[in-house]
Symmetry: C2
Subunit: 127 residues, 2 copies
DNA sequence: CTAAAACCTGACGTTGACGTGAGAGACAAG
DNA sequence: CTTGTCTCTCACGTCAACGTCAGGTTTTAG
């Protein structure tokens, strides 16, 4: 498949696919005319890359991680990297939960029946 | 307290505090010489701002949200905004969990006793 | 009173993941 | 063969949350 089709199929922009290749995350065969050609499996590959981006990993980290995911590499360094990123994601989840809980408190207050916004209520929430 | 003290106390840079003020998130009294002066409560305020930043909110969104947190504003629009951001955070948590689970699978494989990196094992993981 | 430390206002630099043309070549359809 | 669509490679633009440097002022310690 060509780049446009892959972009549509994976739900990303053509620009992103070229960028992934530039970062070494996605390889492409080339036609005689220089156009990129991908196997069907590239769709899943792009989904994986997107998932890691969504988790806040950088291109560089993903580049280091992909060989582990492909199970081609299994060194002490790669295992440490995997655990480090997993731990980072865990912490991120904790932070998000805290923020969500905080918003929930505000929401609960704003939707409560006696939402008169008195000073004491406001101060209680701010604590 | 002055800006340096607040920065140390809240664990952020002086530059960040000036930026928050520039964005309208943090007000400061001024001394006769023009220097910023904050009440003690500013430390908690900054922590709150940081929490929302950590949850991926933009300055603009935080600016819109802070009046709700202060319980000074309670309109249909503000409630919708609160719910929208809460929902966004929820989705973000889901995505992070997916990525984490994915990494866990890779980690489990890389640390399994028979981690010989055979083709079948690699293909099983890639699915 | 004076020197050091902290603070002030601009204003340009940084980083990452793309967006957005420009200009030209490649390819399928009729 | 030609037209339209897709693709190619530069290469500059963007946006957010600051970092950093410059040059000058204010406050504090001694």
């Amino acid at each position: 498949m060509r780049i446009g089709e892959l972009a549509t199929g994976a739900g990303v922009s053509v620009r992103s696919l070229r960028y992934y290749e530039e970062q070494g995350l996605l390889k492409a065969a080339r036609s005689s005319g220089g156009q990129r050609h991908y196997p069907d499996s590239a769709v899943d590959r792009v989904h994986l890359i997107q998932m890691l981006y969504a988790a806040g990993l950088t291109s560089r980290t993903i580049l280091d991680l992909l060989p582990c995911v492909d199970a081609n590499v299994n060194t002490p360094e790669s295992r440490a990297l995997l655990r480090a990123e997993r731990s980072r994601i865990d912490q991120q989840i904790v932070q998000l939960r805290q923020a969500r809980d905080r918003l929930d408190a505000v929401i609960a207050h704003s939707e409560s029946p006696g939402s008169g916004c008195t000073r004491t209520e406001a101060e209680a929430l701010a604590s």
